[in-house]
């Protein structure tokens, strides 16, 4: 009798951890006619390191990882770029995954400067887009990615920004966030990417 109880407990335990819950939509939501409607990433148009226009359509039907950086950033950027390149390497052959890094120093980071940085990082578009564009538009869209990007003369390099990596799904919703300076958090983030692909996207 005791054995049966023991085995049923184990079975219940196994069943409960078999299915991972879907990743939540992290954007603010509002109930409209009994249905939750979430805010989305706004429309955008930027230019990448190959001088190619990058818009929401670039990521149509795909998921992408977004962050902020600038090429002369002396503080956290080398670390976050290293962590982003881990994601790049891991999903290099999976065309369902793309990456978007906004340079928040639009005055210095022209297309040729971004190109040189991309070559140094040994990465290529359209897999990983390093983009520049209208300064106001770049700083404003950080808000949609729950990120901070501000001009601040007292900050190292002249800009204040955080280390967030943000995962966006095909419906322009944020599904996972990680601190790009924490390799363990990025490990967890990459598992979230794999899980989102497995649970909501057709196989590659």
């Amino acid at each position: 009798m005791r054995n049966i109880l023991f085995f049923s407990l184990i079975l219940i335990f196994l069943a409960s951890c078999g299915d991972q819950k879907p990743l939540p939509i992290l954007n603010r939501g509002e109930e409209v006619n009994g249905k939750m409607v979430h805010e989305k990433i706004r429309n955008f148009s930027f230019t990448n390191q190959d001088s190619v226009e990058v818009t929401n359509e670039t990521f149509e039907g795909k998921i992408y990882v977004s962050n902020n950086f600038f090429t002369t950033c002396p503080s956290i950027c080398p670390t976050t770029s290293l962590q982003m390149s881990r994601i790049y390497d891991k999903f290099l052959n999976d065309d369902r995954v793309r990456m978007l890094s906004h340079s928040i120093d639009v005055r210095n980071d022209s297309v040729p400067v971004l190109k040189r940085y991309a070559e140094g990082l040994e990465i290529e578009a359209p897999k990983w887009n390093l983009v520049t564009g209208n300064e106001e538009e770049i700083l404003a869209i950080a808000y949609d990615y729950f990120s901070n990007a501000l001009k601040d003369e007292t900050a190292p390099g002249g800009f204040d920004h955080d280390d967030l990596f943000v995962l966006i799904d095909k419906n322009r919703h944020i599904r996972s966030i990680a601190h790009g300076t924490d390799p363990k958090d990025v490990d967890r983030f990459m598992k979230d990417i794999e899980f989102l692909l497995k649970s909501e996207y057709s196989p590659k």
């Binding site: 002396p74 503080s75 080398p78 140094g120």
Partner: protein, 132 residues
């Protein structure tokens, strides 16, 4: 009682000398962590083709006299490290004192298997006169 005191002072002397040995690069390490580590990484390996390595770098030996100016004023343009070309500007650290620069160079030259020369205040001061 007296014997006990002598014993105690001997023990503390040994402990002090040991900790001092372990910390011979601690000032340089501290400066490295604040000013250099976020780009050149904690293990000195740099970042791909973007930021050159300090660990096992031939640049440190070939440009030994230039190191104080590089640290103080930064670098622009192409440089070659271990046969690989890098072309990303490095910012200088203008707030460093001459002694800080000496401490940093000695730390970097004796970390991660590096076996560079020891420098001192006077040598750094002389090399700083030659900055372009």
């Amino acid at each position: 009682m007296r014997r006990y005191l002598i014993f105690l002072s001997l023990i503390s002397l040994i402990i002090f000398s040991l900790t001092d040995c372990n910390n011979s690069y601690s000032d340089g390490k501290y400066l490295y962590e604040i000013h250099c580590q976020s780009c050149h990484m904690p293990d000195g390996v740099g970042l791909k083709g973007l930021i050159p390595p300090l660990a096992g770098s031939d640049y440190l030996k070939k440009n030994y006299d230039k190191l104080p100016c590089v640290i103080l004023l930064g670098v622009e343009g192409e440089i070659v490290v271990n046969g690989k070309t890098y072309n990303q500007p490095m910012a200088g650290i203008p707030e460093l004192e001459t002694m800080d620069i000496a401490l940093l160079i000695n730390y970097i030259n004796h970390q991660w298997g590096n076996d560079g020369k020891y420098t001192d205040f006077r040598e750094v001061e002389a090399n700083l006169q030659k900055c372009e």
